[in-house]
């Protein structure tokens, strides 16, 4: 069993990561961070660079959580990609960031969040950015 976090480098994404790390410590389960850019274009804003990935790994490891960052590409449906990763890693909980209807990023954009909430086969924890 693992905790799955949908992550983007935004305030909401970071809030989701914090909640995910806290949950992972509580449940003593490893953490899987999913950062999924869109397939097709050579460059995508959502994609994390190697430095950002190692930053996440360092932070989680410092708090004693085993973490793995995955960067699968998604096509039309990010929710499907997240769901398939959730099944693959046998997630007990999916954590996503939520924002009040504002086009911040695909992962936390209204409809995608809703799709994840509706489609997920496991409990979903939706957090808001602090402040």
């Amino acid at each position: 069993m693992t905790i799955l976090v949908g992550y983007l480098d935004t305030p909401e994404g970071r809030a989701a990561l914090d909640a995910g790390i806290a949950e992972a410590r509580l449940r003593e389960q490893p953490l899987v961070v999913v950062n999924s850019p869109r397939r097709g274009a050579p460059v995508d804003d959502a994609m994390l660079g190697p430095e950002q990935v190692s930053e996440i790994v360092d932070r989680a490891s410092d708090l004693g959580v085993r973490v793995e960052v995955r960067q699968p590409l998604h096509g039309d449906s990010l929710a499907d990609t997240l769901e398939s990763v959730a099944r693959e890693v046998d997630a007990s909980l999916v954590v996503i960031g939520l924002r009040h209807r504002s086009p911040v990023g695909k992962l936390i954009l209204g409809s995608t969040a809703q799709r994840i909430l509706l489609d997920a086969s496991v409990p979903v924890l939706a957090v808001k950015a602090s402040g």
Binding site: P37, R38, R39, G40, A41, P42, V43, D44, D45, M47, L48, G49, P50, Q52, Q71, L73
Partner: protein
């Protein structure tokens, strides 16, 4: 030397309309340079119909801007993403990306822009000085010389160009065959028209170019799925340090020379010169092992050379009317569309075009230098556009464009047919370049050869007895026999035949990228 036409040329370039077209050209050039896949040849092909509506000078200024602008743009993705935007920036990947990993992306881009500017400018000065001289000599050329020169051009492009020689020769032969379609200009007999009236006037250059380069590349790129998505790169501190500048001084100087020299050769051009410049720097370096690990010379030399070559490849076109590479074949076509026959008489009959185009390059290079240093980030944004969005739009523009040329639906079919041919050629490793070039030169070769035979009274030895055409024909024989001789010598020395040729510039480490992206 009379300087009046040169000064007049600047007057033409500085007209607001032409300045605007120059700016549009270099911006488009930068953009497509950044985009992997769409190269300058494809873009110029797609934009050919637009040139019908505007003044010849403005049209050629814009198209030229696209060509040399793309050499600047190709660097950006090579350095930042290890993704060469253009084939001529492939070698920049080795050291450019290594520098970017060390946090010196800005310095790499800066030195590339400065090198490109210097290389381009040196080449333009060479062009300004050399072109009228060559054109002066070329005025003595008659049909026999042109026939020989055209043949040499086709042969050199097929043998010197990148890709397999045999495949290039096959492509060139097909290009020559297509050039014969239509009514014979001397006897009026119809050839290869299959009774189709649409083919009676021969196949127009525009649908062939737009199909092979434009649609063919679009189709091919659609198939190319970028399996890797990159994080947006951040560029800081674009100005290279004083140390960087002094390190790359020699590389830039040699790159300019190599680029200028190889650009003039048929089949040379930007790609070959960047490879050679890189190899020369590596051989000259005191510590060659630094190359591939972020040596600034490894960025400066090829980037300087490709710009110098892009510029100097205008010399054979503007002075002899012989295009040196595929992109120049498109320029040749664009000039013909405008009713301008490129050749030695161009400098006298159309001094506005001749000097306008050359002088626009000075301005264009300055514009590019200004744009490429602070505005790198803006151009990198185009990479966020998915091919699934870009391809249909470009395909639609291509189709609309070709229709507007003659208001002919048949031309649209031709583009589709040639687009599929172009796609298949790329898929099976044939370069469409020699085919288009041979098509363009085919008409020239045929008409000059037959004119010559009329002059000689049907005696083909006339080609050999005229000094200039005889020399060119000797050169053709030399070019054709050289590979055989080299193989024979190597076999005598007992070396394996498959060993890499020492003259070929093969940079040691092959990057783990999809090679076709560079096209």
């Amino acid at each position: 030397m009379d300087f009046t036409p040169i000064i007049d040329g600047f007057g033409i370039v500085l007209q607001p309309t032409n300045l605007l077209y120059c700016l549009v050209g270099v911006v488009i050039g930068m953009l497509i340079g950044v985009l992997p896949g769409l190269g300058p040849a494809a873009t110029i092909a797609i934009l050919l119909p637009i040139t019908y509506g505007i003044e010849p000078v403005s049209a050629i200024i814009m198209l030229a801007g696209i060509f040399y602008g793309a050499q600047y743009g190709g660097t950006i993705t090579s350095v930042l993403l290890r993704l060469p935007g253009e084939a001529s920036s492939v070698v920049t990947v080795f050291d450019g990306f290594a520098m970017a990993k060390q946090g010196r992306a800005g310095a790499a881009l800066g030195i590339a822009a400065i090198g490109s500017f210097i290389g381009g400018t040196v080449s333009i000065i060479g062009l300004s000085v050399l072109a009228p001289v060559v054109a002066g000599y070329a005025l003595d050329f008659g049909p026999p010389e042109y026939a020989a020169l055209g043949l040499l051009g086709v042969l050199l492009v097929s043998t010197v160009g990148n890709g397999g020689k045999l495949k290039a020769i096959i492509a060139a032969a097909i290009g020559l065959l297509i050039a014969t379609v239509g009514r014979d200009s001397f006897t009026g007999a119809e050839r290869f028209t299959f009774g189709n009236l649409n083919l009676a006037d021969g196949i127009d250059f525009v649908p062939i170019a737009m199909g092979l380069f434009g649609l063919g590349e679009i189709l091919y790129n659609l198939e190319e799925n970028h399996k890797k998505v990159h994080a947006p790169a951040k560029v800081t501190k674009v100005w290279p340090s004083r140390q960087d500048l002094s390190d790359s001084k020699g590389a830039i100087a040699r790159g300019s020379g190599i680029g200028f020299g190889l650009g003039v050769l048929p089949g040379g051009g930007a790609v070959l010169s960047s490879l050679v410049a890189y190899a020369v720097e590596k051989r000259r370096a005191k510590q060659p092992e630094r190359f591939g690990r972020g040596a600034i010379e490894g960025v400066a030399a090829p980037e300087t050379a490709n710009n110098a070559a892009a510029t100097s490849s205008f010399i054979p076109l503007l002075t002899l009317g012989i295009p040196a590479n595929a992109t120049m074949a498109l320029m040749f076509g664009a000039l013909l569309i405008q009713g301008v026959q490129p050749g030695p008489q161009l400098v006298d009959t159309h001094p506005d075009i001749f000097w306008g185009v050359i002088n626009s390059m000075y301005i264009g290079n300055i514009l590019l230098l200004i744009m490429s240093i602070p505005m790198v980030g803006v151009f990198v944004r185009i990479l966020k556009v998915r091919p699934a969005i870009l391809a249909p739009i470009t395909a639609l523009i291509t189709m609309l464009g070709v229709y507007t040329v003659n208001n002919s639906v048949f031309d649209i079919y031709l583009v589709i047919v040639f687009g599929v041919i172009g796609y298949l050629m790329k898929k099976f490793g044939f370069d469409p370049g020699p085919m288009v070039l041979a098509f363009v030169l085919g008409t020239l070769i045929e008409s000059s050869a037959r004119q010559s035979l009329l002059i000689f009274g049907g005696d083909p030895t006339g080609f050999l007895t005229r000094p200039i055409s005889g020399t060119i024909l000797a050169a053709i024989v030399a070019v054709a026999i050289f590979p055989l001789v080299r193989r024979a010598i190597r076999a005598k020395r007992g070396e394996p035949a498959g060993a890499p040729a020492p003259t070929e510039a093969s940079p040691a480490p092959v990057p783990d990228r999809e090679t076709t992206e560079a096209k």
